[in-house]
């Protein structure tokens, strides 16, 4: 590995600080500093999440007041909302763009590209990523992908704001939808596939960089088992991304060819538009589903694992207590990552694939609940006997635990092929995955933002405003997504632009079986509008605190890991020419006999208390850290 060594020499390694670029463009735009790139990723995700949220509110408005005219929408989208009434195809383009924006450009970028980029090198004591130029390229590639996706809003045809086939893009609808006169399935699909393909490449570059950095650039004393759990999470996520994105990339290329070049990877023969038979023949729509979900299920963990890492990190810090079962946490994370590759078929129980395959996937899927439960138990164990400080980051981390349980536990329902006979593609699924990979992951990001903001910008976010932001958000997400489970029981299918018509003040259900859900539909929509509005508190706090917030000390939370030993914000080479040396594990809180209730990872042993620390036990091969268990 020649390059990291060169980097190490250039960037210090005890030979003095290297100099930060001075020009504005090299410093803030085409920067190769992982910290700047991390912030760039976060801003990209912030932009995307705002768009995605607006789309979700528009969707709720359409299904709740399906025939209401919104003059502003009529002005903005004269074809998508003629006279201000949103069309069904406009709704479906919102569905597609909301999903694509959120999954790729929010849930995949912010936790990994954002926080991971900024803090992984610092937490392992490195002065940058292993490949800084590659890092810069992966950000700019991601941005290019986002720009292509945004261009799909304008280039898909006037009646829609993107393709209408959902973020899963099932063919034949996404391959030959244009030949079947489905709006938005022409140029919109092309741009959508290109955007995702570009994103795949960007994620691959990022994943390689994360893996190499973590394995090669750890500072002296930073053994793997002394790493913060955040680093384990980013590492596992990077491995998942490395193995899953290439599959999506390949599938995307094949879909692009089916759509444009007349190939038939996913399109069977004999399709008809009612007058003529299409030329395609020989492909399999189910093949796409296998390829897509082979990526798609690990993607769920790509979204949630960094949140788990951040939550563990923050829980321990504000509980003032070591993480409970560090090793179990690491193994559980790896088990989730590994099993995550063997459960994709649970998205396809109803697809027409072999029922025997479905049976096997069902058992594997419920197995993945075990490491998830282990994590939950360990979080509760961390809180037991703690001295919890309820700062805003902690509130969101606690919210993460609550939401992860609430969303994850219904996987026991959906993982059973039998129960999918009714539950598949209903609002039950919507409630489940939004809670667990949507808002739980977002709560991880909120926790991370409030926690690391002082380090990133030298100022704290406003604590009062942060708490005011927490409450409507936490209450709001439960109000939105718990009722969706009930809608699913009743039978409400997903991706319906409306469930009733309101004409002349009279309400007519399209399907009568949905009629019990009326009060829930209304309630969820209002909850969504209020919850989304409350996010303005976060955005105001974010930008206001950047310039006007209370100045932060180097270690405002009294935390133990390496990002808190350096200046705030950290210098260009992270540690100002010094090389941190690590003496212990990441979560030494409440240490008996120590002068403070926490011991930094860099505190040498002689100044620490006369006890064997967890990390030390690892290094000396004494086996599990649990030998020092106070519970006996």
């Amino acid at each position: 590995m020649a390059e990291p060594e060169v980097t190490a020499e250039e960037h210090g390694g005890g030979h003095g600080a290297h100099h930060a670029p001075t020009g504005f463009v090299r410093k803030y735009i085409f920067s190769i500093d992982h910290k700047v790139i991390g912030i760039q990723y976060l801003l990209l995700a912030l932009f995307s999440v705002v768009l995605g949220m607006i789309m979700s509110v528009l969707m709720r408005m359409k299904m709740t007041w399906p025939d209401h005219a919104w003059p502003l929408l009529g002005t903005l989208f004269p074809e998508g909302a003629p006279g201000g009434v949103m069309t069904p195809e406009f709704y479906l383009s919102l569905v597609t763009m909301h999903g694509t924006m959120m999954v790729f450009f929010v849930l995949t970028t912010a936790p990994q590209g954002g926080f991971g980029n900024y803090f992984l090198p610092i937490q392992i004591g490195a002065d940058d990523m292993a490949f800084p130029v590659l890092n810069m390229l992966s950000f700019w590639t991601t941005l290019l992908g986002l720009m292509v996706l945004v261009s799909a809003i304008f280039a898909s045809g006037g009646s829609v704001i993107g393709p209408t086939g959902g973020w899963t893009g099932y063919p034949p609808l996404s391959a030959v939808g244009h030949l079947l006169n489905v709006p938005g399935q022409g140029m919109g699909v092309n741009l959508w596939i290109i955007s995702i393909a570009i994103f795949c490449i960007a994620s691959l570059l990022g994943a390689l960089n994360f893996i190499v950095t973590l394995l090669n650039l750890r500072t002296k004393g930073m053994s793997l088992m002394r790493m913060p759990l955040t680093c384990w999470a980013w590492f596992t996520t990077a491995v998942l991304a490395l193995l899953s994105f290439p599959v999506l990339l390949a599938a995307g290329v094949l879909l692009f060819l089916d759509h444009n070049a007349g190939t038939s990877f996913f399109v069977p023969g004999g399709l008809s538009n009612g007058t003529t038979v299409l030329d395609h023949s020989g492909g399999s729509p189910i093949l796409w589903q296998h390829l897509f979900w082979f990526f798609g299920h690990p993607e769920v963990y790509i979204a949630i694992l960094p949140g788990m890492g951040a939550t563990s990190h923050i829980l321990s810090t504000f509980a003032r207590k070591p993480i409970f079962g560090y090793r179990a946490m690491v193994f559980a994370m790896f088990a989730i990552g590994l099993l995550g590759f063997f459960v994709w078929g649970h998205h396809m129980f109803i697809s027409g694939m072999s029922p025997l395959t479905g049976a096997a996937f069902s058992v594997l899927t419920l197995s993945i609940g075990v490491p998830s439960a282990i994590k939950t138990f360990n979080w509760l164990g961390t809180l037991w006997g703690a001295r919890i400080r309820f700062h805003t980051p902690m509130l969101f981390a606690l919210g993460f635990v609550s939401l992860f349980v609430a969303g994850g536990i219904t996987g026991l329902v959906l993982g059973q092929s039998s129960l999918d006979l009714s539950m598949h593609d209903t609002y039950f699924v919507l409630g489940h995955f939004h809670l667990v990979m949507g808002v739980a992951a977002i709560f991880g990001m909120f926790a991370g933002t409030y926690f690391w903001f002082p380090k990133m910008f030298g100022r704290k976010m406003n604590e009062t405003l942060g708490k005011i932001h927490f409450w409507p958000t936490f209450i709001g997400v439960y109000s939105i997504f718990i009722p969706m489970h009930l809608m699913g029981l009743v039978g409400m299918p997903r991706r319906y632009s409306q469930f009733y018509e309101v004409l002349g003040g009279k309400l007519t259900w399209i399907y009568n079986f949905n009629s019990p859900t009326y009060p829930l539909i209304q309630f969820v929509t209002w909850a969504a509008i209020i919850t989304v509005s409350a996010q303005s508190l976060f955005i105001i706090n974010f930008f206001w605190s950047m310039f006007k917030g209370e100045k932060a000390s180097d270690n405002p939370w009294e935390a133990t890991t390496l990002e808190w030993i350096t200046a705030t914000p950290p210098p260009h080479d992270n540690f100002g020419g010094r090389v941190p040396v690590v003496y212990r594990g990441a979560y030494e809180f409440g240490v008996p006999g120590a002068p403070e209730d926490y011991v930094m990872q860099t505190t040498p042993d002689e100044t620490g208390p006369n006890v064997a620390y967890a990390g030390e036990a690892d290094v000396q091969g004494r086996g599990s850290s649990n030998v020092h268990d106070a519970h006996g």
Binding site: P88, P322, P355, L366, F377
Partner: protein
């Protein structure tokens, strides 16, 4: 703040559990043979889910209430974990989850890993944007040949029934699925354009109709009446109203119907739809 959070977690847990227990939002009454077994498995699962959910939220609430930093002189408990507890809760959750998974196989295997019982009625289901077509073989019990080139919406030949095939002469293609109560029916699902999904909540049954693939499934409806068929796989702009109806008929009326030729068949279906009106009271 810890107490407020605890109270919220407990109230939220109570309200969530209440929403499930209230019975206001539940499955419509099951009408298929496997329906009761499905409902039983769901009930078992949701009880496990509910207990685990409530236990975790209540414990989390307790922890944030009980272990708040109130300026105590003593520090937090210094513990790195407990291997025995790790092993214990791993085994317990694994045992519960795997048991659920195995129990959950029963309905699936009963429906999908067995052949349709001999003598099952057969219906070809051909989905299209945005309607359902049900193809009956007529009195000769032989399905006429279909060919994509023959599909023509203009001449109302939605599934491309080939009139050159003598077996097609007595076939009926209708937009209402007709089945016999207490008798197994085999659906052979296909689509002529994109993927759709056949979904009847009361049947507790859903199956994608995939172009290029004949998906054979079977079930036994039990309760006479009329039910709504929805599409559960995104298929285009009119997906939300790709609606059809399923009639479950008493044996005599069914047998009489399927022996009819096309014109009589469709006329009779229109009458039966009126005779067994849709239940709109949910």
């Amino acid at each position: 703040m810890g107490r407020a959070l605890a109270v919220f977690l407990w109230v939220m847990t109570g309200l969530s559990v209440w929403m499930f227990l209230s019975g206001r939002w539940w499955f419509p009454r099951a009408i298929s043979e496997h329906g009761p077994a499905y409902d039983q498995q769901f009930l078992l699962t949701i009880i496990v889910v509910g207990v685990a959910f409530a236990a975790a939220q209540i414990a989390l609430g307790y922890a944030v209430w009980r272990f708040a930093d109130t300026g105590q002189a003593t520090r937090a408990v210094y513990s790195h974990g407990n291997n025995r507890m790790e092993i214990l809760w791993t085994i317990i959750t694994a045992a519960i989850f795997i048991t659920l998974a195995l129990l959950g196989q029963r309905v699936w295997w009963g429906l999908h890993m067995t052949e349709a019982p001999p003598g099952s009625a057969q219906v070809h289901v051909v989905a299209q944007q945005f309607q359902w077509n049900f193809h009956y073989p007529g009195p000769d019990h032989v399905f006429g040949r279909t060919r994509p080139e023959k599909i023509s919406d203009e001449t109302i030949n939605y599934i491309g029934l080939d009139s050159d095939d003598p077996a097609s002469k007595d076939d009926t293609v209708t937009q209402t699925l007709v089945t016999k109560a207490d008798a197994p029916v085999q659906l052979i699902l296909n689509s002529r354009d994109v993927t759709h999904s056949f979904w009847v909540p009361q049947l507790r049954f859903k199956q994608d109709a995939v172009p290029g693939l004949d998906v054979k499934v079977h079930f036994t409806p039990k309760v006479v009446g009329q039910y709504e068929i929805a599409c559960a796989e995104l298929c285009g702009q009119q997906h939300y109203k790709m609606r059809a109806y399923m009639l479950v008929l008493p044996a005599d009326e069914y047998d009489e119907l399927v022996a009819m030729s096309q014109a009589d068949f469709n006329k009779r279906v229109t009458e039966l739809v009126k005779k067994y009106p849709l239940n709109t009271n949910f």
